[in-house]
Amino acid sequence: MKIIVLVKQVPDTYGERTLDPTTGWIDRAGSDAVIDEIDERALEVALSYKDAHKGTEVVVLSMGSKAVTVGLRKGLAMGADSAVHVLDAALEGADAGWTAAAIAAALTSTGFDLVIAGNESTDGGGGVVPAMVAEHLGLAHMTFLESVDISADQVAGERATGQGTLRVHASLPAVISITENLPEARFPNFRGIMSAKKKPFRVASLGDLGIDPAVTFAGVGRSVVLQATKRPARTAGTKIVDEGNAGVELADFLVAGHLI
């Protein structure tokens, strides 16, 4: 079984995240970059399967700037066997469509039985790339899985939606994404960190993957940011200390605002 885990480098949510006002792109220099936590959980799903099934190969794959190297190395230190980095200046500011096309091409060139991603990133939060990748590859997808059961020829799980839960399965190869309901990732240990340096690390450009943007994306719609404006920060209003009557004062406030 060969499992590829898609990882994304995102600005750390523990800091303030900013947009570049001219491009509307995330200002990645403005905050610490980390692997998105949900993707670490996706990697954990693959690594736990590998723990129980010797001979499983786990690959971490990411598209992004040079900075992504750090995150991929962490994935290797956690236990992945190799890494693939799709790196190309033409992908700067790529929308979900370009991203999915590049990832799908990299997956095809790497070969796989199962692709696991996080359900949605903490920065863009679109949650569409896994299903787009599946469509490119002509495969089944199951996104937002709350549980995952991998067997030799299929993957099953429960899929959470706002309206309830579905029990679903798909034959392999397939593309899945998982939610925060799955276990937290392990920490890399010292041995893992040392061995990570010796593991295969492939860097692929669009040309290596057979993509020429002018040809591949001719006539394809591309989402573009027209304008990004920072909202004025919220300011504090009335603040009182309860002296025995605060519940009533709050009721009065709600009445005054026609909220009750």
Binding site: T13, E16, R17, L19, E37, G97, G125, G126, G127, V128, V129, A131, M132, E135, H136, G138, A140, H141, M142, T143, A156, E158, T161, Q163, G164, L166, R167, V168, H169, A170, E180, N181, V220, G221, R222, S223, V224, V225, L226, Q227, A228, T229, K230, R231, R234, T235, A236, G237, K239, I240, V241, D242, A246, G247, V248, L250, A251, F253, L254, L259
Partner: protein
């Protein structure tokens, strides 16, 4: 006016989802709404009149037997068929798990650009402009699609108002989806919310509890105030991690983003991750023992005090008003 396709979500028992009205209202802002619905053969005609009342100028019924067994493939095929017959100006889905999956696969199939999680839509000449609320409302971003078709997922419940009622023109097509590249639905465990409380997404009032509630039992205080206000129940990640309440209630960075008229935060410190999910609420009320809790920096009305004394008093005050 160009046709705007709106993929209507239907529940497993064949009813229109609550998202229908606001999605058709969104479509009406930028063109002539076409409701696209996947139904089992013969079941769609029962929905036509209601879709017309909610503003659908046309109804495109895709009769597909596999609607309940294949994961989103029937919906993608229905929209693809509607795109080829109706040459729409844009295609809208709800920004739900299902709606995003459909948008994703359809986008690749027809070479469209995706605009995700729009909170508003408008036309500027021939361009459709979508507005987004990014990083929990810290930024307002406007976007569009250039060079090809446009698919927009619309945040549930944020577009207010309703489209004008119409008597829809109905098109019915019969389709079969390719089962070889779709996941299979084995069972629908439709969590029917037992209470009559509104759902968190799209709620106009939300009462959330944090770690300050102390335990799962004591978290019922949040339920009580929510019921007194007719509000949905939310929670901070700390409360979810502590096991006080289900993960589906989590408001914030990694949970649900809400923009209600009223947000009441009980025992929530207001970490940046939580604020990202609620700071676009019109009015924010916070009650917390800790006078330095960051939630007070964004609260319109903050009370430094014990939730277990203030909230019962508030509920009593609300109930006594109700009796007057």
């Amino acid at each position: 006016m160009s046709n705007i396709l709106a993929l209507i979500e239907v529940s497993s028992n064949g009813d229109l989802r609550d998202s229908t009205s606001s999605l058709l209202a969104a479509a009406a802002r930028i063109g002539s709404p076409v409701a696209v619905v996947v139904t089992t053969p013969g079941a769609g005609s029962a929905l036509v009149e209601r879709l017309g009342n909610l503003g659908a100028a046309q109804v495109f019924l895709a009769e597909i037997d596999q609607g309940g067994t294949l994961l989103v493939a029937p919906q993608v095929d229905a929209l693809a068929a509607a795109v080829s017959t109706l040459a729409p100006g844009a295609i809208l889905t709800v920004n739900s798990v299902e709606g995003r999956d459909v948008a994703a696969r359809l986008g690749v199939r027809i070479g469209a650009g995706l605009v995700i999680d729009a909170v508003n839509l408008r036309s500027e000449g021939l361009t459709i402009v979508a507005t987004h609320s990014v990083f929990g409302g810290a930024y307002t971003v406007e976007s569009t699609v250039q060079g090809g078709p446009m698919i927009v997922t619309v945040r549930e419940g944020v577009i207010e108002g309703a489209a004008d009622a119409a008597v829809p023109v109905v098109t019915t097509v019969s389709l079969t989806s390719d089962a070889s590249n779709s996941a299979v639905i084995d069972e629908v465990i439709d969590v029917v919310v037992a209470s009559t409380r509104p759902g968190l997404r799209g709620a106009t009032r939300v009462v959330s509890g944090g770690r300050g509630l102390g335990s799962q039992e004591k978290f019922s205080l949040v339920d009580q105030l929510a019921d007194a206000l007719g509000a949905a129940v939310g929670a901070s990640r700390a409360a979810v991690d502590a096991g006080f309440v289900a993960q589906a209630c989590q408001v914030g960075q990694t949970g649900v983003t809400v923009s209600p008229q009223l947000y009441v935060a009980l025992g929530i410190s207001g970490a940046i991750q939580h604020r990202a999910g609620m700071q676009t609420a019109k009015t924010i009320v916070a009650i917390n023992k800790d006078a330095d809790a960051p939630i007070f920096d964004i609260a319109d009305f903050g009370i430094v005090g014990d939730v277990f004394t203030v909230v019962p008093q508030l509920i009593a005050a609300i109930e006594s008003r109700g009796k007057k």
